[in-house]
């Protein structure tokens, strides 16, 4: 039973949803945004710490299913240390991958410093579950909103 959902609930996804490394409100952040899926009640808040033209690090708080949590956690691994424009591009590619199941170039061709990007590949399994697509994309759209957020509206919790 459930053989056809084992791709969706892969070991990688389960590990990140059960023991997320980036869950929790970080002590220091300079931008944040909240994303809601009113249809199902999922809610995720993404916290970002920006520096120069890039992102130093990100964290999240999620109230939702395994896919939301795993996607958010994998996302935080994948985007740390990257430029803001690059991250927006990756967010778009992840959404396209989740919709189509087609792997982006960085999966099919490989690239330097791309281990964390390649780790996103299990999220592609959601393409066979259209009603769950937004579980995977919600953290990413929220991240993009957080990157554009006004730093004065969030702060240093210390």
């Amino acid at each position: 039973m459930f053989d056809d959902v084992r791709d969706l609930y892969s070991e990688a996804i389960r590990n990140h949803s059960r023991a997320p490394r980036h869950a929790g409100r970080p002590n220091v952040f300079d931008g944040s945004a909240r994303g809601d899926n009113p249809m199902c009640g999922d809610r995720v808040t993404v916290f970002v710490r920006r520096g120069g033209t890039g992102l130093e690090g990100a964290g999240f708080e999620a109230r939702g299913c395994e896919l939301v949590t795993a996607s958010a956690d994998l996302m935080c691994d994948a985007v740390a240390g990257r430029g803001l424009d690059e991250i927006t591009g990756i967010a778009g590619q992840v959404e396209a991958m989740a919709r189509s199941g087609q792997m982006p170039d960085w999966v099919t061709q490989g690239c330097a410093h791309c281990d964390a990007l390649e780790a996103l590949q299990p999220l592609s399994a959601v393409h066979e579950f259209p009603s769950r697509l937004r579980c995977v994309t919600l953290p990413w759209t929220t991240l993009v909103a957080a990157l554009g957020s006004d730093s004065k509206t969030s702060g240093d919790a210390a």
Binding site: M1, F2, D4, V5, L8, Y9, M39, C40, G41, D42, R63, G64, C65, E66, L67, F129, S131, R132, C135
Partner: protein, 415 residues
């Protein structure tokens, strides 16, 4: 645990099921187990055929064409009003207003009665178990007019706290009590006659959201003494796009129109217009003609089976389902109301409701998952979201068993 053989169906469910073409399908090779009727019910052949037959043989606009076809279509459309008045035991057919759905019916009351008849300083009282449809229109009324919005609490068992209702009514400021007849999340059936009597003692009118209740119980609006009673056709095996507002005639007479346009007017000039008599005053524009014909077929089909038999069938399923679900390891069924219908919300330890629903779906079992358009209720119960199984006239004990057996496997999968 109850054996399946202990349950005496009030009618032959196989005969009923054979009348629903959609139920014979398989989903990804699995038996289609439809346990989402509280969201929208499937349609029997009688409803499908009535709508197709109307389009093939008897269709025109209503109330305006001076020709044979329009007269026949008008008769069919207006005939549904008579059938609904009979179903609800309304005092007269003019007390039945057609709307798009229950949500629109509540919005109609919030707009026409709330703004047109109620006054600032008064309050609307709802409960903590309301669907967003019976919450948001009153928030909009509050924000536009200053009419207060109050909320009566529920008990941990998921029943309406009548002491809270009474306390909220005590100062005499509540002009309208708007409460669900049956919860779409907990299945709780509220004591509507008691609520109406209590409200009337304190000078308040009552509106009941009967979207779930009318499917499972005989509803007599005069016996309840409801001032307003709203429901929707698609949950009663009818088509989408048609809902019903019952309101006492003197209330409809006192209320200004909701929307303006054709069909709702007496006379029109550029200076002023006058309104049509009730109920047409509230039915602007070309109405849902085919949907009314389909709804009539649904009501007559339900009446032919008999509401008593339907209620008995559901009671057997509730008994069986509670026995089976409580035995699933790690499963918590929300709400333990004494009087309840065939709606079961549950949370599984260690598994989110969406993940549970996805796995059930892979076995062909359709349930709803999420907050069920009742976010404040979810907060009151201390859960983020639940999965919900709900029964219809075609639901069998075997389907409940399939759900319970699969939930055991789902629990093992996520453990």
């Amino acid at each position: 645990m109850n054996a399946i053989s202990d349950i005496k169906p009030a009618f032959d469910v196989d005969v009923i099921r054979a009348q629903f073409p959609i139920l014979s399908q398989t989903i990804r090779g699995k038996t289609f187990t439809f346990l989402d009727s509280a969201a929208s019910a499937q349609k029997p052949r009688a409803v499908i055929d009535a709508m197709v037959l109307a389009m093939e043989t008897q269709y025109s606009n209503v109330h305006r064409g001076l020709h044979w076809m329009s007269e026949r279509t008008s008769d069919a459309y207006e005939g549904t009003r008579d059938v609904i008045a009979r179903l609800l035991n309304a005092g007269s057919r003019e007390e039945i207003v057609f709307t798009k759905n229950a949500t629109e019916a509540i919005n109609l009351v919030a707009h026409s009665y709330g703004r047109g008849v109620m006054r600032p300083g008064q309050a609307v009282l709802i409960s903590a178990m309301e669907h967003h449809a019976n919450l948001v229109p009153w928030q909009m009324l509050r924000d536009a007019t200053g009419i207060e919005l109050r909320v009566a609490d529920i008990t941990d068992a998921g029943e309406l706290d009548m002491a809270s209702v009474e306390a909220q009514l005590a100062d005499g400021k509540v002009g309208l009590v708007a409460i669900t007849h049956m919860s779409n999340v907990l299945g709780t059936v509220n004591p509507v006659a008691r609520i109406a009597a209590l409200s009337h003692q304190h000078g308040a009118k009552v509106l009941f959201d009967g979207s779930q209740a009318v499917v499972h119980r005989a509803v007599d609006v005069q016996a309840i003494d409801a001032d307003f009673y709203v429901w929707t056709g698609h949950k009663l095996y009818g088509p989408t796009g048609i809902g019903v507002l019952y309101a006492k005639r003197e209330l409809l007479e006192a209320m200004p129109p909701f929307m303006g346009g054709g069909d709702m007017i007496g006379s029109v000039s550029f200076e002023r217009s006058t309104w049509a008599e009730v109920p047409h005053k509230f039915e602007a524009g070309t109405p849902m003609i085919l949907e009314a014909i389909g709804l009539r077929a649904a009501i007559e089909w339900v009446e032919a089976i008999g509401m008593e038999a339907i209620t008995a069938h559901e009671a057997g399923l509730v008994h069986h389902a509670l026995n089976r679900l409580v035995a699933v390891p790690g499963l918590r069924v929300l709400g333990t109301a004494q009087d309840r219908g065939g709606v079961f919300s549950f949370a599984m330890e260690g598994a989110h409701a969406h993940d549970v629903a996805t796995l059930l779906d892979r076995e062909g079992i359709a349930v709803r998952a999420g907050n069920h358009c009742a976010e404040p209720l979810m907060r009151r119960l201390g859960v983020d979201s639940t999965a919900r199984a709900s029964c219809g006239i075609y639901t069998t004990p075997e389907e409940i068993d399939r759900l319970a057996d699969t939930l055991v496997k789902v629990g093992e999968f996520f453990r």
